[in-house]
Assembly symmetry: C2
Homo-oligomer: 350 residues x 2
């Protein structure tokens, strides 16, 4: 509830009557964030003063009562009743909405009867600083993702295809009663040159194999990538891996509260060729959230932020290497994902 309080203070300071989260045509992760209730179609109303409420359709009412942290629930059986209720509530008011999620269509409908203000930046920044409960959930997700990654690497010699590896990751996630944070990446040989490649029913190729994986606990995500080597790496390949690793470790070590995100990205980029994506991203109820750790980022890294650090080097049609951890920033950075970091060499014939 401390975050709802922050919203109310912001509304007062900015003379806005309501924060209105539209979780309809497009789900808005802010709904999940404030309510902890995962639903396709619902609205959240946080007033400057008074009780926060959610508005749901009849078919979601039982689930809302069971899962929503916001216990003040309005239900309606028809969508026109929902529209009428919202209109009555917001008529002639100043409302703050998330400009980076509300669609033009919804905005056009809202503008007919109320004044809308952009509060997207405020929401991003509020969410980037995690509460005690959020950190606990992310830690649990990271711990489980790490354990599964360890087990996956330990069993790697048994796998025949990329899909075998993916299936192992999915089945272990289910066994632990967690959700996948995203569809895992298992990319061997030249497939690893595609950072978002999806595993196929193809034999594991020799060379580097990138495994990018995460689980979610109570809607909070984890994200970890490891790269193993299938076959016998050349000295040059070992050196290349060690270079990515040393840069990843140096990036993490260099982070202190107050540092500019782009400074960390530049450090990696300056030292690593073939680095074709950003260095990292905030993580929480969304896999990618504030802050961005990229070349163009204007974000500042602060205490209690949780983000990934994931440098990589890629050569089209040849190979890919990426090493990623989820990191919590306290006075110093704390790595939440823990498993092998030295290059693991897999001999498939053993």
């Amino acid at each position: 509830m401390e975050k709802i309080k922050e919203v109310k203070e912001y509304l007062k300071k900015n003379n806005i009557d309501f924060c209105f989260i539209v979780n309809s045509n497009k789900k808005d992760s802010n709904f999940l964030y404030f309510t902890n209730f995962d639903v396709d179609f619902a609205y959240l109303l946080i007033p400057k003063k008074g009780k926060t409420e959610i508005i749901v359709s009849e078919m979601e009412y039982s689930r809302a009562k069971k899962y929503s942290k916001i216990k003040n629930i309005k239900k309606f059986s028809r969508s026109k009743e929902i529209r009428a209720y919202i209109k009555k509530k917001l008529n002639n008011k100043r409302i703050g909405i998330n400009y980076e999620n509300v669609t033009l269509g919804d905005a056009r409908r809202l503008r007919k009867y109320c004044k809308i203000k952009d509060i997207s930046k405020f929401l991003l920044k509020t969410r980037s600083v995690k509460t005690y409960d959020e950190i606990r959930n992310i830690k649990k997700a990271c711990l489980t993702a790490s354990k599964i990654m360890t087990k996956c690497i330990d069993n790697f010699y048994k796998f025949k295809t990329e899909k075998d590896v993916e299936n192992f990751l999915i089945e272990e996630t289910q066994k632990n009663d967690y959700d996948l944070a995203f569809k895992p990446v298992v990319a061997s040989g030249y497939n690893a040159a595609m950072p978002h490649y999806r595993a196929k029913q193809v034999k594991l190729k020799k060379g580097f194999c990138v495994i990018d994986f995460g689980v979610a606990y109570k809607n909070y995500n984890s994200d970890i990538t490891r790269t193993v080597y299938i076959g016998n790496p050349s000295n040059k390949e070992v050196e290349l891996y060690n270079k990515v690793l040393s840069i990843q470790e140096a990036c993490i070590k260099n982070i202190l509260p107050g540092i500019k995100a782009k400074k960390i990205d530049s450090y990696a980029r300056k030292n690593l060729s073939g680095f074709i994506h950003g260095l990292g991203h905030g993580i929480g109820v969304e896999i990618h959230e504030f802050p961005n750790i990229t070349e163009e980022s204007k974000d500042i890294l602060k205490k209690k932020m949780v983000f990934t650090i994931e440098p990589g080097t890629y050569k089209e049609k040849k190979y890919g290497i990426r090493i990623e951890d989820t990191v919590l920033l306290k006075d110093k950075p704390e790595i939440l994902t823990k498993t092998y970091k030295k290059l693991k060499v897999i001999n498939l014939n053993s």
Copy 2:
């Protein structure tokens, strides 16, 4: 490519220079629809005249070349280069965008240099009428989902918990090398009163158990629900099930090209109490797309549309029953999901 042609004709007729699909902060399923390439961050430009192109970041270039149906691909290594390229292309032009997906934030940036027009309704309607290839993909997805559902019901007596059922569905989907269309619903006893309940690590309860499941083939979805009975149903319970079933079958039988969607919904709603959601929805690359088959729908059902018909009856904290098929409308409706429809009684002690 026939759908790209339709877009170009629409642009010409309406004097719009480009259709611009923004698949960035919020993914727009129209990107997946036109390119068959599933990616988080990319843009699609369909000009009134000339070549359609997609714009991607360097990290997605290899995947784009491999998977995108649109082979004219522009790549850039920095997002500011992408923004500059788009600005140059669209400067002072009239562009059609999807008002139901483009955010206020993106619109604010676009309006600085071009005129935007809403083409969301056109896109919805175009997509609702499926091509030969789309129908083939949906049929494959429906066939596999049906086979898995049959196997699930045949093996039901072995399951101890709701999670066991869910895990079975997920593992069978992987074995067949398909993707899940959505997170399955397995809801036993009073949990079945929540249409979107997620399976838990709890013992299967006596009474009706709702299983709502679907797989995707080449990004095209299927959707099927069956309700089984665990234990010995009373005569009243069997009657209730048969009522839902007969209404479901009658709804499908009553559909002919040109009929109003809401007329079919009303028929079910008139005859069924405790029916707390819409009767059905279009299905394609999205699980829920045009047309809506609800009380308030203005949509007309046409040939080559594919949609679900899924009446249900629910009593809070007591029970839930739902029967759903995916249906293709030709001259007559054709049911694409095929498995048991008579009430299956599961004796867990056998």
